[in-house]
Symmetry: C2
Subunit: 223 residues, 2 copies
């Protein structure tokens, strides 16, 4: 992914500072929104003495945001690639298998995270930010696993008009990105008890797979 | 709706200034994102000599945002109430009628607007802003027309677990709000030709009704 790294190999201390800034920024942005967090607040909350640490390590807010997006996408993409490859390309992949590959890697990431997560809310905000929307769709929702699914998945097997397929894929993205963000928000804000974390992520996964199978069959079945 | 109006009846000049500030803010926020517009920029762009015009007329950014949300919701709610009332409560409302009432008032609003619209992008951003999310859901997505649909609509007729119904309704909201915002964004940014405006809004309406019928049948049919 296109994260911005210094040209020379960064020192261990620099790597640590970058990681701390990324984790802190992801949390603050997720909790308060892009509009309510300054890069100075991020530097301070990350314990950086230099208030322009974000500028120094990331050349500004936008590159910091892109680096955080890449980290979140990469972790989930790694799991999805393994699932997609396990399906193989020898036979028709069912709608349920298709959406299981799309949804479950994110569900598992959120369940296995050692503590609270911020990535889903952060990602949803980036997708809605006017200046970032096109970048997010291009770089983070058009990954190799998505392209393999689009080529071999059940959605593709039907002889579907490309325009309709594109509108379908946009709906799948809109629903799944914002459903993940809302559950993460509800867990973070005590609307759902912490003890239910794993059960609720699994429930969301099953709900989304069921809902997307129904949506996809209805929408693509028309053509 | 809970817009903030001065306690005394406002002067015509004050009403004009408020309207100008609201239209300007809606446009700037929709085009640049909440994070990239200051209240000072809004006052300047609205031609207000006083840089604290937003503070004077709305007591700050949050009340300005709430007033804009109310105006957008009220216009669409008025259309939806008329559609829902025309259905009556004497017979079972079908899934398709249910989602037509939910989706088409917004589609018609965007088609009949005399020029470009900003409301859908503005609304989607507010729904993703951590401090506004609960308010938006409570005040603007739990309107009388929604409550009538929930009571008499097809979704309710099925003997559905309340928790599942709530998760279902959240998905319907996530998909429809963000699908509207994305089409508005694509029209504003020249990804779709202006001459196709009406056709594309109608297509989105039909796509959403079809997709939501499929989603709903799949999700609620399980229980």
């Amino acid at each position: 992914m296109n994260t911005t790294a210094p040209a020379a190999s960064p020192s261990p201390r620099s790597v640590l500072a970058r990681n701390k800034l990324m984790r802190t920024a992801e949390r603050l942005y997720a909790e308060r929104g892009f509009a309510n967090v300054s890069v100075r607040q991020i530097s301070e909350a990350a314990g950086q003495r230099n208030n322009s640490a974000v500028q120094y390590h990331f050349h500004g807010r936008d590159e910091l945001i892109k680096a955080i997006l890449s980290r979140y996408t990469d972790v989930i993409e790694e799991r999805r690639i393994a699932m997609v490859e396990a399906l193989g390309t020898e036979r028709t992949v069912s709608l349920e298998e298709h959406f299981t590959c799309l949804i479950m890697p994110g569900v598992e990431y959120h369940i296995e995270a050692p503590g609270p997560t911020w990535g889903a809310r952060f990602f949803a905000q980036a997708l809605v930010e006017p200046a970032l929307r096109a970048y997010v769709i291009q770089e983070h929702l058009n990954t190799p696993s998505h392209r393999i699914l689009d080529t071999y998945g059940a959605v593709r097997r039907k002889d579907v008009d490309p325009g309709l397929l594109q509108r379908h894929n946009a709906m799948v993205r809109q629903l799944s990105v914002h459903a993940f963000a809302e559950l993460e928000h509800d867990l973070a804000n005590g609307r759902i008890d912490r003890s239910e974390t794993e059960a609720r992520w699994r429930q969301l996964g099953q709900d989304l797979i069921t809902a997307l199978c129904g949506l996809s069959a209805a929408l693509l079945g028309r053509s």
